[in-house]
């Protein structure tokens, strides 16, 4: 982890005081479920529950978990889902954000309020009718069908509109003078200027859709479309008598990619949020 901003002052050295102890204790508590999962995954069920430090370490649970479900397929499905959802969001929200930021037209504000309403009409709340809609469109049990309702994201439109609004008019005018079309202006001036917003939004979107469950549960029906979360819920359905070690192994396998990505891009993550700021 790197320092983001810490102006060096003479007292800038880490101190182990009450704050530090509190922070570290809370951190340990917070990460304990994950630590327990790691512990459980590398032991058999009895060893995991008994906390017997001498219990043998084993990879059996990973083998069992890996063999028990088509994980590679689930990974692929989730990756495709996250990718197309994000791609759709970036395109649609860019266009809409650009329109709201730069093209005044009668009725624009009304439309904008309508768009913001979608922040509150959650896709999750409308699962029943959205499911009917997806079925009507013939997209039931397709990955596109899982991602589609999220592509016109009010949050994304709102963020990009804010970002585009902060781009100085002079830049746009300069580009226009040089003979750029509107598309060119968008591509050369606005999108580069809004990069931090894009990054922050992308990170949030990926994390959200990687972990989304209820909607995919309703609209996916087969191994070919089922994302990781739904696969994991089937794999660990309490009815089947959960084996803590195997469940933990499965859980760790399914969160590893995202967790690693976060650890690697931690700095960008925080900085992106920092730059966007919540306006």
């Amino acid at each position: 982890m790197t320092e983001v901003t810490s102006p060096a002052t003479p007292r800038a050295l880490p101190r182990l005081d009450l704050d530090a102890v509190g922070a570290i204790v809370l951190a340990v508590v917070w990460i304990s479920p994950l630590l327990f999962a790691v512990w459980a995954a590398f032991h058999d069920a009895s060893g995991a529950i008994s906390f017997d430090l001498s219990a043998p370490w084993t990879l059996d649970s990973f083998r069992t978990a890996w063999a028990a479900a088509p994980w590679p397929r689930y990974f692929l499905n989730t990756t495709i889902l996250v990718t197309i959802t994000l791609a759709g969001q970036l395109v649609l929200c860019t266009l809409a954000g650009f329109a709201f930021a730069r093209f005044p037209f009668p009725g624009r504000d009304v439309v904008f309020v309508l768009v913001l309403l979608q922040l509150f009409i959650l896709p999750e709340v409308l699962i029943v009718e959205n499911y009917a809609m997806i079925a009507r469109l013939g997209l039931f049990d397709t990955i596109v069908g899982v991602g589609l309702p999220y592509m016109a994201s009010a949050f994304g439109i709102f963020l990009l509109r804010q970002a585009f609004k902060q781009v100085p008019k002079e830049l746009e005018e300069a580009a226009r003078v040089e003979g750029c079309s509107w598309a060119g202006v968008l591509w050369r001036v606005y999108i580069p200027a809004a990069r931090p917003t894009y990054l922050a939004y992308a990170l949030v979107s990926v994390a959200t859709h990687w972990n989304n469950f209820l909607w995919p549960l309703v609209v996916t029906n087969s191994v070919d479309t089922r994302p990781l979360t739904v696969g994991l819920s089937l794999f660990g359905a309490p009815e089947s008598g959960v084996d803590i070690s195997v469940i933990s192994a499965g859980t760790i396998m399914s969160i590893l990619p995202l967790l690693l990505a976060f650890l690697i891009f931690q700095r960008q993550f925080v900085q992106a949020f920092l730059r966007v700021g919540i306006k």
């Binding site: 983001v4 002052t9 800038a12 880490p14 101190r15 182990l16 509190g22 922070a23 570290i24 809370l26 951190a27 917070w30 990460i31 479920p33 994950l34 327990f36 459980a40 529950i49 906390f51 395109v91 649609l92 266009l95 809409a96 329109a99 709201f100 005044p104 037209f105 979608q118 922040l119 509150f120 009409i121 959650l122 709340v125 409308l126 699962i127 029943v128 009718e129 009917a132 809609m133 469109l137 016109a152 439109i157 994390a207 990687w210 972990n211 309703v218 990781l228 994991l232 819920s233 959960v242 469940i247 859980t251 969160i255 967790l259 931690q266 993550f269 925080v270 949020f273 920092l274 306006k279």
Partner: protein, 297 residues
């Protein structure tokens, strides 16, 4: 108004609508039309092979509100929101202050706080299931060391919802922390130094300087938390399925159950209308606040 200006205006309007078109189509398909369809569906009875669907007016609503489960579920959800929102925001703020302070192992601390956000709720629920299992669960083993007997956290009406809330807070706090952390980074350290020179205690500084400065973030996080208190029900599928005896059932889970387990679309629709109405009120209040803040700028 010169003609060229009018032409430019018209062209801009055309561009605007064209750019908005794809988003508006999708928003119509997956937000506005379904909302209308939900209202419509709530006005008819359920059709089966023996009895076709017929117009019922507001009967479904009357039937819904006369169902004790409805009140149970609404109360549960209010409690769920009322406890998990302030708790997760409070903890998030504390985390952010700590993760922003100069302490050893700061990287680890930040990462630890944020980790739950990166877990799918389903995965988290699986882990917590084994924390809560009576007797052999982690929590009971720890409390057992202090001589407490096993507690059936998920199996008792008094504790089931609290157990679910705990998982929610654990999952949410780290996510909100990130927003606070970002906001804290923008506060110049001179403020703190000035306050120290003035002789302000830490608590005074936090209350008089920090919290007001963080207000926009708090508002944003609050809205997020409110929305999540409606939609975050994944863990119910694993932990309690809304039991025992509806003690931990939340509104959206109940909607899912009515629609997909009981095939009772009208009741699910009526309940959805109710949720949308509440969310609409929240939205209206929120817009008013945004308007107010816009005036201050």
């Amino acid at each position: 108004m010169s003609t060229s200006a009018t032409i430019t205006q018209r062209r801009h309007a055309l561009y605007g609508w064209m750019l908005l078109f794809p988003s508006l189509v999708l928003l119509s398909l997956f937000a506005f039309i379904p909302t209308g369809a939900t209202v419509w569906a709530s006005l008819f009875t359920r059709g089966t092979s023996r009895r076709p669907s017929e117009f019922a007016g507001l009967d479904t609503y009357a039937h819904l509100t006369s169902d004790p489960v409805f009140w149970k579920v609404v109360t549960n959800n209010l409690l769920y929101a009322g406890v998990s929102i302030p708790l997760s925001i409070g903890i998030a703020l504390g985390m952010a202050l700590w993760a922003n302070a100069r302490i050893p192992a700061r990287g680890f601390v930040r990462t630890a706080y944020f980790t739950p956000t990166m877990l799918p709720m389903i995965a988290a629920a699986n882990l917590w299931l084994f924390f809560y299992t009576p007797g052999i669960g982690v929590i009971d083993q720890i409390t057992g060391l202090f001589g407490f007997g096993p507690v059936n956290w998920l199996g008792q009406p008094d504790t089931a919802l609290w157990a679910v809330i705990a998982v929610t807070v654990w999952k949410e706090a780290g996510f909100f922390m990130i927003f606070y952390l970002a906001a804290l980074q923008t506060i110049p350290p001179e403020l703190r130094e000035a306050a120290t020179i003035e002789g302000a205690s830490r608590w005074t500084y936090t209350r008089r300087v920090l919290l007001p400065l963080l207000m926009p973030t708090t508002l944003f996080v609050l809205i997020n938390a409110l929305i999540n208190s409606v939609k975050l029900i994944d863990h119910l599928f694993i932990l309690t399925k809304g039991g025992p005896n509806n003690a931990s059932k939340l509104i959206l889970y109940w909607i899912w159950e009515m629609a997909f387990a009981y095939f009772d679309r009208p009741h699910a629709a009526a309940m959805t209308v109710f949720v949308l109405a509440v969310l609409g009120i929240v939205a209206a209040v929120q817009f008013r606040l945004i308007d107010r803040r816009a005036h201050y700028r």
